[in-house]
Point group: none
Amino acid sequence: MKTIEVDEELYRYIASNTRHIGESASDILRRLLKLESQKTEPSAEPAPAGVQGEGVRRMLDAGTLAAQDSAIERFMTILSVLYRDNPAAFAQASDIKGRKRIYFADSEAALLAAGNTTKPRAIDGSPYWVITNTNTGRKRNIVTQLMAAMGYAHGLIERVSQSI
Amino acid sequence: MKTIEVDEELYRYIASNTRHIGESASDILRRLLKLESQKTEPSAEPAPAGVQGEGVRRMLDAGTLAAQDSAIERFMTILSVLYRDNPAAFAQASDIKGRKRIYFADSEAALLAAGNTTKPRAIDGSPYWVITNTNTGRKRNIVTQLMAAMGYAHGLIERVSQSI
DNA sequence: GAGGCGATCGTCGGGATATTTT
DNA sequence: ACAAAATATCCCGACGATCGCC
């Protein structure tokens, strides 16, 4: 696997062409470029425990979060990183919900249907949407629940949710 | 700039479509995907701390600004000096934007496209354009954000933006 | 586009807090 | 009735761009 840099807009364009949950950038690009698909393994196996959280830690350390100036931006960044860290686990975990509202869905409409003025937003680099009309406490809560369901260590969960 | 992973073969495919030396992955992909090209900014290294701000201080001390009789002229002069002081950092920093409008671009059209009556102006001695239809407070704001992103010291930022 | 500038006021987004539900 | 959790209204500050003034 090689790493390349693409600008924000292009990144979003690629992400928006995701056909199924967990699809990799390579797969999407190959389809868009009409190249012969090379079987990329459906990356479903749980990440080896030692590795889990690599990307997340990098985000914390890089100060990416501290740079954002609103809770909502930090929230969205975290979700985006979490998704990329382990799409399969994210998919599993994302069915957490509140009393009436659902927090994640693969379409804006689904979120709008389950509550009033939920202000859904697309999670960058993923096929998912989240609810956004919540206070900061609940945003922390959502991240905590999500990460717990994805199997992250307690300490890391704490660090991440406090950084919102 | 976002980072994505692509498999070896795809990477080679992209690389093989390079049209000119130094072309970025984004540019190549945009061409292959037939997307509107967006100039990719040359990646900048932070300026050596000691030198940063030389030209800016000179401008302040020379009273060049005080001589101008409108905020907009002082604004344009400052931007021009900032660009020359560190073109690479300026390029990095110039992606700051408002709710709808973008503040800087390398073409008039890009600015016109992102807002109504933005009154773009070319920044002297640079390939950039700025938005101009703002009150003085926002002009100060833009300069403050820009300089902060370029890594100038707080005190200097303050002096400059107050001089508008 | 072509008169230039920018204050003023309308609009929008963030998220704390009041309200509702369990 | 009380507390805790969840919802979503609504206030405040930030941003946009019209339009009045020179």
